[in-house]
């Protein structure tokens, strides 16, 4: 057996090398007298070659020296001593040793190269397999995404167009049509969230990275959830001159929207929701800020004690939705039906997947004053060059 190239040769390999040399000596013994000694000596490099190829460099070198020793001991006159009567045999020994050692070295090098080529080949095959399976995964996700979402879009639209196709529907039927539409939209949102989760949890999720202003992000998220937030008071606590984030704008807006939906769902009407953003240094205040922190706080029912991290986990495993054991779960499902879109139960899992795909982290805690606080920390990159300053001209003078 070819030894493991990473394993150094053991005593057994040396024993095998010795056996090989002895075997050659036995083959050579009957030839003594019929062949020139120099020709018999030519047999010994065969044993060294065998040792070098099969057993490694150490046993091969051992075989080389043993060959010289045995050749001298059994074949060179006087026999059965290491003494040499004719000095010309010293040349034979030297040549034999040189040939044997060179053979050992060459064969061992050949073996190393073969082993590393094999290893490279295996690695390349593994990499190829990984690329293939990632490609398969994303193709599958893309087509699933299309095949699930297109009919749901049609279903929601058809339900809405029902009254347009004929005389106005009676109230009860109109209500049913609206329920069909809402359920189709909800299923659509669920399919979207599931597929996005799968996409984000792939090995290298695709993020459309862009420079993002956190205050702009917060502003657009609040604006897009204005309808949901109308029953609550929203306060913004955004530090001045926040550094820019490098992130996927669409996904980050989803994160904030999901956190806002979550806050609304677990805070009674009239409650308070606060969104704060600040840059935090890692150590001394003198160093450049390393993280951007965005916090969404509410003064609602808070999180189940001791499960502040589990709320992000449980969705992933597909267990019952968060706060299934909380009395206001019914409130959320009513809300879901009312807006017909959000609240798939995957919201927080998606939040975490997005933040982690960006190298950030998210945590949740109960506030001492009541209610929950969700804090996300995003790593801050080196800031880009600011735009070149403008020389005041033309419209500026008109404008003053």
């Amino acid at each position: 057996m070819t030894p493991d190239p990473k394993r150094p040769p053991g005593w057994l390999d040396y024993a095998k090398a010795a056996l090989a040399v002895i075997a050659i000596a036995l083959v050579g013994a009957p030839l003594l007298g019929q062949f020139d000694l120099a020709n018999i000596a030519m047999l010994f490099p065969l044993a060294v070659l065998f040792a070098a190829i099969r057993l490694g460099r150490g046993p091969a070198v051992f075989a080389a020296f043993l060959s010289v020793a045995l050749f001298d001991f059994f074949f060179v006159h006087p026999h059965f001593t290491l003494a040499v009567s004719d000095l010309q045999y010293l040349l034979t020994f030297a040549v034999l040793l040189a040939v044997a050692l060179t053979t050992a070295e060459l064969a061992a090098r050949l073996r190393r190269e073969r082993d590393s080529a094999e290893a490279r080949g295996e690695e390349a095959a593994r990499a190829q397999l990984a690329v293939e399976s990632e490609r398969l995964r994303s193709t599958l996700l893309a087509s699933l995404s299309h095949d699930l979402r297109t009919p749901l879009t049609a279903l929601a639209g058809l339900a809405e167009a029902l009254p347009l196709a004929g005389p106005p529907l009676p109230a009860a039927q109109a209500e049913l049509a609206e329920a069909i539409r809402a359920e189709a939209l909800r299923t659509h949102a669920l399919a979207r969230d599931l597929l996005d989760l799968a996409r984000l949890q792939s090995e290298a999720p695709h993020l459309a990275l862009d420079w993002i202003a956190a205050d702009e992000l917060v502003g657009s998220a609040v604006k897009s959830r204005a309808h949901t937030l109308r029953t609550h008071t929203v306060t913004l606590e955004l530090a001045d001159e926040l550094p820019l984030l490098r992130a996927d704008a669409v996904l980050m807006e989803r994160v904030l929207c999901n956190l806002l939906d979550n806050a609304v769902a677990h805070t009674p009407a009239g409650g308070q929701i606060t969104i704060a953003a600040r840059a935090t240094p890692t150590t001394a205040p003198a160093t450049a800020p390393a993280w951007l922190e965005i916090e969404v706080c509410d003064n609602g029912c808070g999180l189940p004690p001791g499960r502040e991290q589990a709320i992000f986990e449980r969705f992933v495993r597909g267990a019952e939705p968060r706060l299934a054991d909380a009395p206001d779960r019914a409130v959320e499902s009513t809300r879901v039906r009312a807006t017909g879109d959000e609240g798939t139960g995957l919201g927080l899992a998606l939040v975490r997947a997005v933040i982690e795909a960006h190298g950030g982290s998210i945590g949740a805690r109960n506030r001492p004053s009541g209610g929950a606080a969700f804090t996300l920390r995003m790593p801050l990159p080196a800031q880009p060059e600011p735009p070149p300053p403008e020389a005041p001209t033309l419209s500026a003078s008109r404008n003053t």
């Binding site: 995404s145 299309h146 979402r149 297109t150 009919p151 749901l152 879009t153 049609a154 279903l155 929601a156 639209g157 058809l158 809405e160 167009a161 347009l164 196709a165 189709a184 939209l185 659509h188 979207r192 996005d196 459309a208 862009d210 420079w211 993002i212 202003a213 205050d215 702009e216 992000l217 917060v218 502003g219 657009s220 609040v222 604006k223 897009s224 959830r225 204005a226 309808h227 913004l236 955004l238 820019l244 996927d248 704008a249 669409v250 980050m252 807006e253 989803r254 929207c257 880009p384 600011p386 735009p387 403008e390 005041p392 001209t393 033309l394 419209s395 500026a396 008109r398 404008n399 003053t400």
Partner: protein, 244 residues
């Protein structure tokens, strides 16, 4: 435009999903439009060549090719309004379509109300005579495009040349989203289309000068991943119902 002396505007609906075609058709016909349908690129090329519609509604993913290719071809000979239908999360598609000359996009799943509002706005724009208003008003802000002056609550507002150019690009778009690329190229030149962070700085500046609450802007709105748009009448509800 053609539509002004026709009884009903003709809309070509290019979409491969029959269910979507059916409800869009129902909605548009209830609105008094004539609807032509095409389920493939080839068919839509024929329709476009035979009977110039007043508006094209274009789905980007078609069985025999990319809707963007059709849009690019169309833009070489026609300025007809084009409304692109795209999957909700594919912002890159929206940007590509707007940069290729689409007038607006509608994210799937969309509601009938939103669909009709977009179609009406596009048809109105297309029928309006080309001369543009010289005075634009939004919130407390009035922009005099002839005089190049901006006032807020009657007080003059000082804009830098680039701020004014950005505002001008948003005004010219008439409420539609202008992509980051278009804004960067228009305000700083084609060599700066990758410098999205310039926009963050300048839009913040414009909002400080023109919005009553710059943190919750009512007029200069961000479309994440796509660009910006100027809304003349402040909406007190969602930014764009249905588009996250």
């Amino acid at each position: 435009m053609k539509a002004s002396h026709r009884p009903a505007p003709v809309i070509l609906l290019v979409e491969d999903e029959a269910g979507i075609r059916r409800f869009v058709r129902a909605a548009l016909e209830a609105e008094g439009c004539t609807v032509r349908e095409a389920g493939s690129l080839e068919r839509s090329r024929m329709e476009l060549a035979n009977r110039r519609p007043d508006l094209l509604m274009l789905d980007l993913g078609l069985p025999d090719g990319d809707g963007l290719a059709l849009l690019t071809e169309l833009r070489q000979w026609s300025g007809m309004p084009v409304l692109v239908l795209s999957a909700r999360s594919d912002e890159a598609d929206k940007v590509g379509a707007l940069d290729a000359g689409a007038d607006d996009y509608l994210a799937k799943p969309f509601g009938v109300g939103e669909l009709l509002a977009r179609v009406r706005a596009l048809l109105r724009r297309a029928m309006r005579p080309p001369q543009a208003a010289s005075r634009i008003v939004f919130g407390e802000v009035a922009v005099d495009l002839d005089q190049r002056t901006v006032t807020r609550a009657g007080q003059p507002v000082h804009l830098t040349p680039i701020e004014y150019r950005l505002l001008g690009l948003l005004i010219a778009a008439g409420g539609r989203t202008v992509t980051q690329r278009q804004l960067l190229a228009g305000a700083w030149g084609p060599n700066h289309v990758e410098h999205a962070h310039y926009l963050r700085v300048y839009m913040a500046g414009l909002r400080r000068k023109l919005e009553s609450d710059p943190r919750l802007p009512a007029h200069i709105l961000t479309e994440p991943g796509v660009g910006y748009r100027l809304v003349l009448e402040a909406l007190n509800d969602a930014r764009r119902p249905g588009s996250e």
